[in-house]
């Protein structure tokens, strides 16, 4: 039987572990990606996400009924990821290489080329400072609205809009430089 997110939250508030597990599985993917993109390390990201879920479920009673879960939980994930990173003093380590990248030579030629473009774009994203990178991650990974990003980062919506615009402009510029000319589809 399918339950809505609000029903799951109500049951989780009553201490039902099965409801917590469903919420966990619904939000795990974006949470772990986000934590990894902030911490740049999978083990640290897993720790951060684990702590975030535990904290979220323990403090569910304070969660306001009827509100979306994702912005509230994303804020916890971001805080845990930042705190875990600073606790481990990882600074700005490079991302761990993913297994997928190491086997790129097995992919068809077209995919390799496309993959290379995505990697360059990813590098360009990582070149952004945190003020511009975090709103970008929240928009494209956590899929939050600008208002939700503003709430998550404690910023005015106008500031979020401005930072997202600037980030996109920088990425567009980086891509046009890499790809040797302007591209019409980079809107």
């Amino acid at each position: 039987m399918d339950h809505t997110e609000q029903e799951l939250i109500q049951r989780a508030k009553q201490g039902e572990h099965w409801a917590m597990e469903e919420i966990f599985r619904l939000h795990l993917d974006s949470a772990i990606r986000l934590a990894y993109l902030v911490t740049r390390n999978w083990a640290t990201a897993e720790d951060a996400v684990q702590e975030a879920f535990v904290q979220a479920f323990r403090s569910l009673k304070g969660f306001r009924d009827g509100h979306p879960f994702r912005p509230w939980f994303t804020r916890i994930v971001i805080n845990k990821a930042k705190r875990t990173t600073s606790r481990l003093d990882r600074g700005h380590l490079p991302y761990e290489l993913e297994e997928e990248n190491t086997h790129a030579s097995f992919n068809p030629e077209g995919s390799v080329l496309e993959r290379a473009g995505l990697n360059e774009l990813f590098e360009a994203i990582n070149e952004l400072d945190d003020n511009h990178r975090l709103p970008l991650l929240l928009k494209y990974v956590a899929e939050l609205t600008e208002a939700e990003i503003a709430e998550t980062l404690d910023l005015p919506v106008s500031t979020v809009k401005s930072r997202l615009y600037t980030a996109r402009q920088r990425l567009k510029k980086a891509l046009t430089t890499t790809e040797g000319g302007g591209r019409d589809d980079l809107r």
Partner: protein, 188 residues
Amino acid sequence: MTLDERIKEALQANSTWSGSPDELWAKVAAQLPPKRQRWRQPFWLGTAAAAVLVLAFVLYAVWNPNPPSPPVVEDAPQLRMFSAVLPAFEPLLVEGGAEIELAVDVSLAADSTERPPHLEIWAEGEERSLTAVMDLDGGALLRTRSLTVQAPEEPGSYRLVVSGAVQEAGQLYQVHGELTIVVQSADQ
């Protein structure tokens, strides 16, 4: 592909987790407070509990008919052997108008047709005649178990009879007392 799509894909492609959701959930679940055992109350339980209480109350009332603050009663009228209250079988010599203390016995009554408590004063001569009838306070009789009666002024032998039924705290009691007095003339 638009810039938005490319950003999204670049982030997706470079953040693919190869860990186990089950293992991570196990770690999370291990740190959660144990599930509260919420016993689901059957819908009929409230009604059943109320019915049991009512039944228990009824059975208690049937088998323990004593009122909350019952006067101690005897199964049958008994003679008082001492105190200022005198035995009923011996005539009491009194002066006319003197106050006499008449003992009253209390017992459980089975018949509710009995009239309210009252005092009858019978003159006992050659012919027995009823000289006075007075209604009495049943509650006071139950509490004091005695009645103060003023003796008739007229010399002679009298029979004082207290009888009747008293209803108190849902229970019916029968009161009864008798005393023969002899009112002496002033020159005796």
